[in-house]
């Protein structure tokens, strides 16, 4: 295999001898150079996509551990979880659910725009997605502030000064789950937003078009997974049966 064109980015002499395939781009876009060890753009696409799905599988199991613990203690202290769930504001939770669902929708639209080389539309859709993520975090902030004001904070500082959890065993456990799960999820939202901003930066330079939209697609998958986890967190924490 050979290509006449010079590829950029010599990683410590690694790419020095071989250059990748170039995927021709429409005017206004930067053509993508396939990594040197792949024969075709499609091979690179499918390999990276497989890698992303495998990574999502690890995310599923990572959160799965938390969910398993949740169900376990829901079984041990059903009353605690029920009373704890009533302390959360399900309206805010539902609002956040809708925000995230909408952001997933705009993300999917953004990927679609990338596939069709519609640069402006893609940037717009990704921008809306980031704003939704921001909205989610803002709502989360108000929720957290309300919990803090009632002393419903993680265990060591759990004070429950309004005694809303009096009368149930280990009232702090529900809130420990609430804080741990939402905090780890919130961290994922934040990381997702940063990733989308990073993609938008590349998008502004015209790096993504019909022939190469892999980063948009992968970040999209990540964002959808964050949404997916929230889809389960919402009923488990806010609507505890």
């Amino acid at each position: 295999m050979h290509t006449p064109q010079e590829a950029g980015g010599h990683g410590a002499g690694h790419d020095a001898h071989h250059h990748g395939v170039v995927v021709p781009a429409p005017p206004g876009f930067v053509p993508h150079v396939v990594a040197h060890h792949f024969d075709t753009a499609e091979a690179e696409f499918s390999a990276d996509k497989l890698a992303m799905w495998l990574f999502l599988a690890t995310e599923v199991l990572l959160f799965g551990g938390l969910f398993a613990a949740y169900f376990y203690y829901h079984g041990v202290y059903p009353e605690t979880f029920k009373v704890g769930g009533h302390q959360l504001n399900w309206r805010l939770g539902a609002l956040n659910t809708l925000i995230l669902l909408f952001s997933s929708y705009t993300m999917a639209m953004g990927v679609r725009a990338a596939q069709l080389s519609q640069k402006a539309l893609m940037q717009k859709m990704l921008g809306i997605t980031v704003l939704c993520g921001l909205g989610f975090l803002v709502v989360k902030y108000f929720e957290y502030a309300a919990k803090v004001s009632h002393g419903l904070v993680p265990a060591r500082w759990f004070s429950d000064h309004d005694h809303v959890m009096a009368g149930v065993e280990n009232g702090h456990l529900f809130f420990n789950f609430y804080w741990t799960m939402t905090a780890i999820h919130g961290l994922h939202v934040l990381i997702g937003m940063l990733l989308i901003l990073w993609v938008m930066k590349g998008g502004a330079k015209g790096r993504f078009y019909g022939g190469y939209y892999l980063p948009v697609d992968l970040v999209g998958l990540y964002w959808h997974l964050v949404d997916l986890i929230w889809i389960f967190l919402f009923p488990l924490l806010y609507l505890v049966p």
Binding site: P24, A68, L101, Y105, D227, L228
Partner: protein, 145 residues
């Protein structure tokens, strides 16, 4: 294999022609919008159902609705329906293996009293602040951790 032929093979375009539209599946706006609206409706359903007390069935309903929503997101937003078999297998197997964690730990928990009821009974335990041997140095540990 030249760059052009490789590209042509991958994308089915004429060699050297700019790629405007990917050859991968592109979802229509209509289907994405329909999925989004369905998700909204399902959210409303799950909130609505939670206001009614069905006993332990509430949990089952909530989880079923969530599973349907998750399936919709994965199938359409995440394109799994149009993705390769191997990607489908891997992500689904992660749920299968997660199910193992659930099944075994919850089996253990729910059958603890089956043979020896006393083993499921909670025993008294010394109060944290009086009997925690290392309770106090935690602050000390924080200093150098």
């Amino acid at each position: 294999m030249s760059a052009h032929s490789a590209h042509a093979e991958a994308h089915g375009h004429a060699p050297g022609a700019p790629v405007l539209v990917t050859h991968h599946h592109v979802s229509t706006v209509a289907i994405l919008t329909k999925v989004f609206l369905t998700l909204v409706i399902l959210t409303i359903i799950t909130v609505g159902v939670s206001q009614v007390d069905f006993g332990s069935a509430n949990m089952v309903i909530a989880m079923l609705v969530a599973a349907v929503k998750a399936a919709l997101v994965m199938t359409f937003f995440m394109h799994l329906r149009y993705d390769t078999a191997i990607n489908n297998i891997f992500i689904l197997s992660s749920f299968a293996f997660l199910a193992l964690l659930f099944v075994f730990t919850l089996t253990d928990f729910s059958t603890r009293k089956a043979v020896n009821p006393i083993h499921a009974k909670r025993a008294p335990i010394a109060e944290p602040d009086t009997h925690y041997l290392w309770k106090t140095p935690r602050t000390k540990e924080h200093k150098h951790e």
